[in-house]
C-alpha cells in the first residue's frame, strides 16, 4: 500500500475540561477524497485547526508526506503543500479576484521579498491566475474586488486560491457552506476531478455532497472518530445511524 499523504497520529487537544479532539488518527491516501463528518460541536473545526497549524496539539503528531510537521507554523505548513480553504471565506478583501490568486502564486514560488518589479507587470503571474480563475468559472469576474463578489463567487475564489498553491493535499473546510443547490451541484462536479491533482480532506455538512464525493468517510463525535469506512460501510454503520438519525441531527 502506498504511503499516506497526510497522516494524523493520536491528536488530542483539550480546552479546559472539554476534549475537543480526543486521540484522533486518520490518513489521507494519494488520489482519495476523505470526508470528515460529524454533528455540530463534534470538533471538526478544532481538528482542522490542528492540521493547518493554527492550534497546537496537547499530544499527537501531524505528518505530511513522511515529514513531521507538528511543530511548524501555519505559513511553513502551507509552503510545504497544505492547501486549505476556509469555512468562512477568508480572502484579501481589497484585492481583486485575480490579485488574490496572484498572491497565492507568488507565495507558492516563495518570492515575497522582491522589492523592484511591479506585480501587475508580471505576465507569468497574471496569465496563470487568469487560467486558474477560468477553471473555476470566475474569469469574467477577475477584476472585481473580493469584498464585492457574491457569497458563491467567494466560495469559488477560495477554491481557486487553493488551486494556485498546487498543494500536496487539499484541506477543504465546508466548501459548500451557504451555497444554493445549484451552486453545490456545480462545486461537487468540480471537486470530483480535483482529487486527481491532490487528495482532499473534506469537512462538509452537506451529506448528499459527501456521499457523492468521498472515497472514505470518518465520523467524528465528541472529538473522537467513531467510524472510518467507505460510503456504504458508513451508511450501514449502526452507531453512525444512531448519531445522525437518533438524538442528534446534522445541521
Amino acid at each position: 500500500m502506498a504511503d499516506p499523504v497526510l497522516d494524523l497520529r493520536g491528536l488530542s487537544r483539550a480546552f479546559g475540561a472539554l476534549k475537543a479532539t480526543d486521540d484522533v488518527s486518520l490518513t489521507l491516501m494519494p488520489g482519495e477524497t476523505h470526508a470528515l463528518i460529524g454533528p455540530n460541536g463534534a470538533g471538526k473545526s478544532t481538528l482542522m485547526g490542528l492540521v493547518s497549524g493554527k492550534i497546537a496539539p496537547d499530544a499527537g503528531e501531524v505528518w505530511l508526506e513522511g515529514q513531521n510537521i507538528t511543530g511548524l507554523s501555519v505559513a511553513k505548513r502551507a509552503a510545504l503543500g497544505l492547501g486549505r480553504s476556509f469555512q468562512v471565506s477568508s480572502l484579501i478583501p481589497e484585492y481583486s479576484a485575480q490579485r488574490n490568486v496572484m498572491l497565492a502564486l507568488q507565495a507558492r514560488q516563495g518570492h515575497s521579498y522582491r522589492f523592484l518589479k511591479p506585480v501587475m507587470r508580471d505576465r507569468g503571474l497574471r496569465d496563470t491566475a487568469r487560467a486558474i480563475l477560468a477553471r473555476v468559472g470566475l474569469d469574467a469576474r477577475a477584476s472585481v474586488e473580493a469584498a464585492v463578489l457574491s457569497h458563491g463567487e467567494r466560495r469559488l475564489l477560495e477554491i481557486a486560491v487553493a488551486l494556485a498553491l498546487k498543494p500536496r493535499c487539499f484541506l477543504l473546510d465546508e466548501p459548500m457552506a451557504g451555497l444554493g443547490s445549484e451552486g453545490t451541484a456545480r462545486l461537487v462536479s468540480f471537486l470530483q476531478n480535483l482529487k486527481d491533482e491532490a487528495p482532499i480532506l473534506l469537512v462538509e455538512h452537506d451529506m448528499d455532497a459527501v456521499f457523492r464525493l468521498a472515497d472514505r468517510i470518518s465520523v467524528l463525535v465528541y472529538g473522537r472518530i467513531i467510524a472510518t469506512g467507505t460510503v456504504d460501510e458508513i451508511r450501514a454503520n449502526a452507531q453512525v445511524r444512531a448519531v445522525y438519525l437518533g438524538e442528534e441531527t446534522p445541521a
Partner: protein
C-alpha cells in the same frame, strides 16, 4: 476619469506646486516661503517612511519620532565634532558631509527599528501602539539626560552640513536637496507598493490569517517593512536637523510621533502622496492660523476630527476616491 487617473493627476499637481511655489518665492526674494516648502518636503519624507509601516502594513507605530530623533542626533553629533575638530569615539572623526550623515542615520535607524520591530511585532493593536511609544520615550529620556550633547537644551549645528556641488547655506539649494530626496522616497514607496513585497505586506494588513494559510509568514514581511519605514524617517530626521540647525530631545517627543500620524491621516493613509498633502496641510495651518491665534492646534484638531468622521481617505481620498489595488 477613473480614480487611478485622478490620483496620478492630483499627485502630479502637488509635485508641481511644491516645486513651483518656492521657485516663485526665489524670484520674488521670499526666502521664508522657500524654507516653509523645505519643511513640508522634509516632514513629508518622514511621513513617507511611516506610511510604509502604517499605510501599507497597518502597523500603527506611535513611536516614529524615535527614528526622526536618531537621524537628527546623527547629524547634530557629526556636525558638532566636525566643527570642534574632536573625534566622536576613539579616532572616529566627525563629518559635515550630508551624504555620509544620511547613510549613517539610515543604517542606525534601521538597526534600531529592527530591534524595536522584532520585539513589538509580536503584539498587535493597542499593545503594538504602546510598545512603540515606550521605545520612543526611552530614546526621549535618554537624550534628555545625556549631558555630552546638550541634554534638554539640545545641540546647535553652527554651520549647516555640506552637499557636493551646492551651497546648503542658501535656502533654495537646501530646498532642492529636500525636494529631490522626497521624490526619491516617493519612488521607493511606489516601487515597494507595486512589487511582490508590497502585495504581501498589504495582504497581511487586510488578512494575516489568509496570508499565513498560503505560506506568507506575516512576521518577517512586517519586520522588513518596519525597518525600511524607520530608515526613511531617520533620513528625514537628519535633514530636519540641518534645516533648523538644531537638535533636541523634542524631536523624539511623543507629540512628534503623533504629528507624523496626523500628517498621514490628513493626507490619506497608504496613498502615495498622502504624506505630501498632509505635511502641506499641517505646515499651512501652523503658518496661517498660527499667525492669527495661539490656539491653532484646536482648529487642526477639528479638521482632523472631520477627516476621521467624514473623509477616511484624507485629502487624496476626498478628491481621487478610494484606492484601487487592482
Amino acid at each position: 476619469m477613473d480614480n487611478t487617473r485622478k490620483e496620478w493627476l492630483l499627485n502630479a499637481l502637488m509635485a508641481l506646486a511644491l516645486f513651483g511655489v518656492p521657485l516663485w518665492a526665489l524670484m520674488a526674494n521670499e526666502p521664508f516661503i522657500i524654507t516653509l516648502a523645505t519643511r513640508i518636503a522634509i516632514l513629508a519624507i518622514a511621513a513617507v517612511g511611516l506610511n510604509i509601516a502604517l499605510g501599507l502594513g497597518g502597523m500603527v507605530s506611535f513611536g516614529h519620532a524615535l527614528y526622526l530623533g536618531l537621524g537628527g542626533y546623527v547629524a547634530g553629533i557629526a556636525a558638532h565634532h566636525a566643527f570642534n575638530g574632536t573625534p566622536i569615539l576613539a579616532g572616529i572623526p566627525g563629518t559635515n558631509q550630508m551624504l555620509v550623515i544620511w547613510a549613517i542615520a539610515m543604517v542606525l535607524s534601521g538597526a534600531i527599528a529592527a530591534i524595536v520591530g522584532a520585539l513589538s511585532l509580536r503584539t498587535s493593536g493597542i499593545f503594538f501602539i504602546m510598545i512603540t511609544l515606550a521605545f520612543a520615550q526611552m530614546g526621549f529620556f535618554f537624550t534628555l539626560s545625556w549631558p555630552a550633547y546638550g541634554g534638554e537644551d539640545g545641540l546647535p549645528i553652527f554651520v549647516r552640513n555640506q552637499f557636493p556641488g551646492l551651497n546648503t547655506a542658501r535656502p533654495w539649494d537646501l530646498f532642492l536637496i529636500s525636494y529631490g530626496v522626497l521624490m526619491v522616497a516617493l519612488v521607493i514607496f511606489a516601487m515597494l507598493r507595486a512589487a511582490r513585497f508590497g502585495a504581501a505586506l498589504m495582504a497581511i494588513r487586510q488578512n494575516p490569517d489568509r496570508a499565513a494559510a498560503i505560506g506568507i509568514s506575516p512576521f518577517g514581511i512586517k519586520l522588513v517593512g518596519f525597518i525600511l519605514s524607520g530608515m526613511i524617517t531617520g533620513l528625514a530626521g537628519a535633514m530636519m536637523a540641518d534645516l533648523t540647525r538644531f537638535v533636541s530631545p523634542a524631536m523624539m517627543a511623543w507629540t512628534m510621533s503623533g504629528e507624523l500620524i496626523v500628517i498621514i491621516i490628513l493626507g490619506g493613509v497608504g496613498r502615495l502622496f498622502g504624506p505630501v498633502a498632509g505635511a502641506a496641510i499641517l505646515v499651512g495651518f501652523e503658518v496661517f492660523f498660527g499667525g492669527l491665534t495661539e490656539h491653532w492646534k484646536l482648529w487642526l484638531g477639528l479638521v482632523l476630527l472631520a477627516v476621521v468622521l467624514f473623509a477616511r481617505g484624507g485629502l487624496i481620498g476626498l478628491i481621487a476616491g478610494r484606492a484601487q489595488n487592482g
